[in-house]
Symmetry: C3
Subunit: 339 residues, 3 copies
């Protein structure tokens, strides 16, 4: 059960209402009036909770779960269980995500501009925004309606941010045009000069970086990420793409829509990433590499060449994942033989 | 010698006093009255300094050192040296750490609340705290006695921090219950939403994250770390555990006590780390993996499977370190042969 | 073309003027009066732009480019092209970097001290500085002439920063002596306690860190980097060295001049890096390792042993790059055979 000081929970709801909201079939139907108070983990859930069972590996936990209600698929719902009511859904994972938003809606935060925020006279601030203490907003900045800017965040001259954005504290944003409904966590740096250097007689000489960072709608950016602006041309992050914490995006990188980058991944300058690419944690993608739509890159890989659309790669250097597994196995055998 | 502008040094002390404070035996005893003014490196130390010799690899430096006093073990004290007085200790490394605190005690900083800190009326602020300029403290926050909060740090609603904490500047802390005597460096993010997504028809959909970050007593967290809160249930870091800089801790990770994570290590969601685990720099630990008590993970490893208690692993994928060395050797031979 | 809201462009210039400024030979000379308005990418450039052609791999783009003027070498200038005027230079890359500064000079920013900056009475602030809102400057800090400090950056007691520095927002700087003309991006942490621990009976015990961070002139530090101060002795970064984003520099590391560290690279405590070393992205260098002058370390490598001056290494563990390629090839063959 969540800590009520930190999280405001809606409800309770009857199972019937939840079934309707997420478009699921209740089994057995006579449990329609049962009360549900919270979402919970399959193993921790009690009689007032709804949990999810969406992976056959958890069949044991499903069999023993004390959850009052469990969301699952028609197929997984055939496994033995402990008397929970079932909500049968075509996509139980997504249905459970929706239940999360039903019990914990984003809420309509209070609108305010803190007197200790420093906002340039030329900035354009939308309706119903929330701008916390210590925020610094530069000349000609545009902040869309209902956006929230966390304390001590700095938004430099001419940056534009769409409506319904949530930006956490201590972020530093410059040289960027940012879409609507983005979610940017804390201590994020956006718009820094790219790391393009030319060797000079006394050391590296930085190239001029006169491009921007262009961020689409509904993009998610985790804590302590760093996203550089382009040199000539822009750095681009497409709609619905999500970055975890401590991710590095180099200058002139172009990322498509719906991609997912896990923690500490990094993309070097001018790489091109397609749509719906999945990038594991601590992956490194070299400069000027192209990764096709729907590709998957296993955690910790070092991608040094192009990856075709739909391909799954792993390793350092990265290669098709089956090949990597073969190499891993062959090397283990070789070492054993040579003992 | 340390820069007196930055560091306030206590002393001088006689060797006798130091021997007593750290429980060491002085050899020869007639050097009891010798004066010591500072701690120093074995190679840089002069006649007024105390240094440490705790590794046989430095026997050459020990032989030539001009340190007035050297802390060492009875065994290492048999090596030839240059006339330094010796302080013989069962654990010279720990004894030298204690000497550091004798010459450079943490001190009792001035207590103050800067007029440019913004503190919610409902926050509970302990006695003798130091709260710097630009700090923003939300509703119902609890700050324990004698804690120090660095400039421009943001502590969101309901967060609780124990007594004697030292928190650096520009940190962003939300959704967290934090113990006593923690040491959190600068630009640290704690309590961000975890990176749990479900694929949706238009892109990734984030799961609700309604858990907290629970941090024990005497935990150390380096600069620019990011620690996410739990989804269902909490992210937990046990007493005395230390994280170096730029470490990533994912949602629902559980870390035991007394662990050490070197710089840029990362732990993905729901991994479980036992007590006294040593994690090298740039190590990546995959989600849902379990690492047993006292395990050691060599720098740069990619841990993709469980690691047993007490085991030492290395490599990508990580394997027992002897096996990794065998594989590394076998591969080198193979490449030579195939030339 | 750059966004005029964000970037102030000088010019236009005639080709003749540009040729003179960068010391290039114009071919054909009769194009001297041609007007140039901006720098651009070879593929995007139009008739008013100057682009660069400095790598034979882009000969196709050179042949088709619509750029009015192209900077190149005498040799590359022999390739077929589309009627652009050519500026022939001994070092076209460096010449193009100079053109960037001609069109986009750093400018002389307005000098000011924002009333919402908090500056200790004992701090010494040079002439013509720019100190933004929310900046906090401690006792006895020295800021050189014409330096700019970004909003909400915190500079702790006794830190000294040379003239003409540009420091971005939300940085946290302590225990540091910093040279002139440095460029430090946003959310950077400098001067944190090093991660030197001794195992104690109840967990790790931190060693006293009474050294400083010493940063030379014209050093560049990217966003969200973390640089720890020394334990006994200092952490040192030499003149003209450049760090990309999210780079970790451990305590007592000594880095020479003119080095380049790409994103997410990390150097563990007490490593010694020579002059003009090139370190790829996500490289990890172990503690106490020495890397010689002019060495090159390929991206994602794990350097566990010393690297000789001038050597190029790759792999994990890192080895001479030719050996790494041989091993990679040999392993691929072995896996194929064993199918």
């Amino acid at each position: 059960m969540s800590d009520e000081r930190f999280f405001k929970r809606e409800g309770p709801f009857t199972v019937e209402v939840l079934a309707q909201k997420i478009g699921a079939e209740l089994k057995p139907p006579e449990r329609a009036g049962q009360i549900v108070r919270d979402i919970a983990d399959l193993e921790q859930a009690g009689k007032d909770d709804v949990a999810v069972f969406c992976n056959v590996r958890h069949a044991g936990a499903f069999a023993k779960s004390h959850a009052g209600v469990i969301v699952t698929s028609r197929k997984l719902g055939e496994f033995p269980h402990n008397g929970s009511a079932l909500l049968l859904s075509n996509d139980p994972r997504l249905a459970f995500a929706e239940l999360g938003r039903i019990f914990y809606p984003a809420g309509a935060p209070k609108s305010f501009v803190h007197p200790r925020a420093t906002i340039a006279a030329t900035a354009s601030i939308g309706a119903e925004v929330a701008i916390a203490a210590g925020v610094v907003i530069g000349e000609h900045v545009v902040i869309g309606a209902r956006s929230r800017i966390g304390a001590n965040t700095v938004i430099e001259d001419h940056v534009s941010i769409g409506s319904d954005a949530v930006i956490g504290p201590n972020c530093s944003i410059s040289h960027a045009l940012i879409g609507a409904a983005v979610n940017i966590s804390s201590n994020v740096s956006i718009g820094g000069e790219g790391f393009g250097f030319v060797p000079g007689p006394q050391g590296p000489v930085r190239l001029s970086h006169v491009g921007l960072v262009i961020i689409g709608n509904r993009v998610e950016i985790g804590s302590n990420c760093a996203i550089d602006r382009g040199g000539l041309g822009n750095t681009v992050i497409g709609d619905m793409t999500a970055l975890d914490n401590l991710v590095q995006i180099g200058h002139n990188v172009r990322i498509g829509k719906g991609c997912v980058f896990a923690g500490q991944a990094g993309v070097a300058g001018s790489a091109i990433i397609g749509d719906y690419v999945m990038v594991g944690g601590a992956v490194s993608i070299s400069d000027h590499v192209t990764v096709g739509d729907g590709a998957k890159i296993a955690g910790k890989s070092g991608v040094m060449r192009d990856v075709a659309a739909g391909e799954t790669v792993a390793g350092y250097p990265a290669m098709p994942i089956r090949q990597w597994h073969r190499q891993t196995t062959a090397l283990a055998k070789l070492a054993k033989k040579s003992d």
